[in-house]
Symmetry: C3
Subunit: 161 residues, 3 copies
């Protein structure tokens, strides 16, 4: 299953776990709401299949043009968008951190009044009118998220790496 | 299953229904094509997993900066893009309206010749060269879409709310 | 299963195949990495459910405003973004070409330091810090990708068309 012949690409087959349709109400934090579901349902690994709605107070960061690895804070640009904005995409996964706690890695895209789309690595955002998410559990062992020293960003690691 | 302890987050486990690979031809309406499949296959709830292709005559709306709830027409900006544009994302779901008819809630992203991405809540768009969609049925009871008085937008409601 | 009454919309039910969680390391090609997994695991048809991370040297193309069908090279604009950029979305599918080889049709979105999102039809991109992908196999017969003479772009065709 694991591609051990080529260190450039790692992969693992997983089994489908539970599937959830989620609605988050105005004023709630996207990150806290997802963590709350993961905690209550004891979900270790999951991926977001779909997310639409509207958001405000979006906190995100992007990589500075020309930045080198590892990614450090000085190589990131931090943005705060008050909005409200249409939520066009929330992609990412839940994988346990070294502590065993659910750790979300989420990227967001949202549109301004002009229709222009802005996005990046999401720290958090608040639901404006509604948020409808489809989240599915991945059943697999031997992965966790920790800091990549070479990349400088928390990423998925496979146990055999 | 239902998170009744916290009114901020509602969720429900669903079962996987049928899965469809879809191709829509030039000149067809995205919304009408999706509704047509839902009608012919008697699909009540579904989510779009993937959509790429190209589009023209895209009608979408975004929320005006600084807008308050509820979202009213006066608080939206309406855009029409003649294009053609690359279709980069079509996210959203099909959930029955109060009438029982399939109701699509779709957000679109597409790129201009410059590479700049525009997007928003999609009213409709026409297929330019092709559109390839993966659509899966969600099997669950007790949800429908109706107008949220507080949010001002049609959203998913769970029967127990 | 096949909608043969309306030539505007084609669709086919598929069965779920294997599911893979993938991590691609810095410096690797996204397209070659995905093709490598398809080749090693003998995956004929697949769809990307989720992809986040960061990329550099992104090669993509968009359609010129006002372009007519068929899409020819002269009607496309080619962009190269050195980046690095946050990878916000990689959508698309793997379907066999006429040769039987895996053929990827992928659209990408990524954000610049400003937060502005750029995207289009992806020729290729290189992983910057990491790339986390969820890829699932679609089990179905009778589809392949070949050039659409009317559309001018390689697209999915169903055997019965």
């Amino acid at each position: 299953m694991m591609d051990s012949n080529d260190k450039g690409v790692w992969y693992k087959e997983y089994k489908q776990g539970r599937r959830f349709l989620v609605k988050i109400r105005p004023g709630e934090s996207l990150v806290e709401s997802i963590k709350q579901i993961a905690s209550k349902e004891v979900i270790h690994n999951a991926v977001i299949l779909s997310a639409i709605g509207s958001v405000k107070n979006v906190h995100l960061n992007d990589i500075k043009s020309g930045a080198k690895l590892p990614i450090t804070s000085a190589r990131l640009t931090f943005h705060e968008l008050e909005g409200p904005l249409e939520l066009l995409s929330l992609s990412g996964n839940i994988v346990p951190a070294e502590s065993g706690q659910a750790n979300c890695h989420l990227h967001i895209m949202a549109s301004k009044s002009s229709g222009d789309v802005v996005g990046g690595h999401m720290q958090d955002a608040e639901v404006f009118a509604t948020c409808e998410i489809v989240l599915v559990e991945l059943v697999l062992e031997g992965i966790e998220r920790h800091l990549s020293k070479s990349g400088g960003t928390p990423t998925i690691f496979f146990a055999e790496e």
